[in-house]
Subunit: 252 residues, 2 copies
Amino acid sequence: MGRGTERRAARQIACSECPLRRLATFRDFSRSELAFVADFKKGELSVDRGASLLIEGAHNPHLYTVLSGWGFRYKMLVDGRRQIVNYIMPGDLVGLQGSLMGEMAHSVEALSPMVLCVFERDHLMSLFREYPTLAYDITWIASREESMLDENLLTVGRRSALERVAYLIAFLASRADSAGLVGRNDLGIPITQQHVADTLGLSLVHTNKTIRKLINQDMLSWGDGNCTVLDRKALHRLAKWRDEERLPRPFI
Amino acid sequence: MGRGTERRAARQIACSECPLRRLATFRDFSRSELAFVADFKKGELSVDRGASLLIEGAHNPHLYTVLSGWGFRYKMLVDGRRQIVNYIMPGDLVGLQGSLMGEMAHSVEALSPMVLCVFERDHLMSLFREYPTLAYDITWIASREESMLDENLLTVGRRSALERVAYLIAFLASRADSAGLVGRNDLGIPITQQHVADTLGLSLVHTNKTIRKLINQDMLSWGDGNCTVLDRKALHRLAKWRDEERLPRPFI
DNA sequence: CGACAAGTTGACGCACGTCAAGGCCGGTGG
DNA sequence: CCACCGGCCTTGACGTGCGTCAACTTGTCG
């Protein structure tokens, strides 16, 4: 499928005991919804850091929900220029676009070891038929993705390099929060400066110099392929951040 | 609601006679689907060029489908920098994100006189409950929007100014095609160079110089707030365009 | 020990931004 | 009728934020 090892494991976590569902950020399911999802789930997929989950142009019979780990979606031009389009973390739905439209229009790669629930795309229609509330949730999730992309476009199109970096780091930290990735012994955001550059439309060198400025101002620290936020308020100020109300969100 | 006049008109076009539905690009409806949509529709909205349809931060009780005309979605930073995030044309759904998540995260403005079908967002859940095929369509539409945004991000982040302009014009021409806007006496794409600049993350002056290069190479022409494509292949080549399969698409 | 991935830093160049001025044209009002 | 204005496009001169090139460091893995 791609570089990096990968293996399919038998089901390890029952949906009823899904650790994500306990988090305050995610909405509760009715008993029957839970039963449907448990049946919808066909297995689990574990991949290493660097593994390709989905590849642009391919047809993939599966749909995933991230159980743990980080990843990113990206597109490439023929000559190798890469644009990271968004990041993926626990609770996110992966591969919906391919399920609906056939061919994937982007690739997905793991930033850390990941575990994903596997669903079959052929059963998606039955979800829509039998569980309108879940169908609504899926649309909600797609719509949330859309609004993240809008904001990322604003960032790449109209913010300066310094604002862009501040925004991106604050954005990732905020999402990590809401996905319940805080108190754990995860050391921070598992990205390299190359990822930052490819997300923000900057060169690696200029990205490095910009990050360094933020480090020198004690807004964040960088080490070992890991970024940690030290002064979130300062980042928000720099990035002209506007927080949105954060409602409990759905997840499949 | 915004600048520009605006008026609500009584229903003028019955869904069963919707001119869009006759186009090859849109999928056919069953009789009962059509009946539902006809009932879902609460009226029509006509606005002039320059009118604001939706405003960032506002709550709007409506959901729209574009019947005719062009518009665009945009976001702004506090200091006035503007980023156009996508364009809107016949057959597109407008305001879904606000319907699902409450507050609008972007604004929408008309590029030409527009007519829109008005739906009430409170009835969206009943659509999901009673017409899973329509719910599926809505999700499909959201997913299509997502893949357009992905591509726009790639453009703004990784293409050069010349590639960006070529890509954008080709993109708009292609969408206009598939929305059935060709043979009509519409003279072209109704945008100003300021719109192009705000879409591509460029300055107005540099945008102008870039467009001029394309005009001098007879790839397009510009006049009277209107852009016309003269050599689509050349634009595609320049933009490193990849065409996607174009399936019949849904529309509500 | 070499090889490679990730980060760092300085020197230099260019693609783009900014500033400034002017042209064209349709609309409005004297 | 002309005078004036504002929206849109155009062009030149000049400045700068970011890209490119190149070299070095550090850590890790074999």
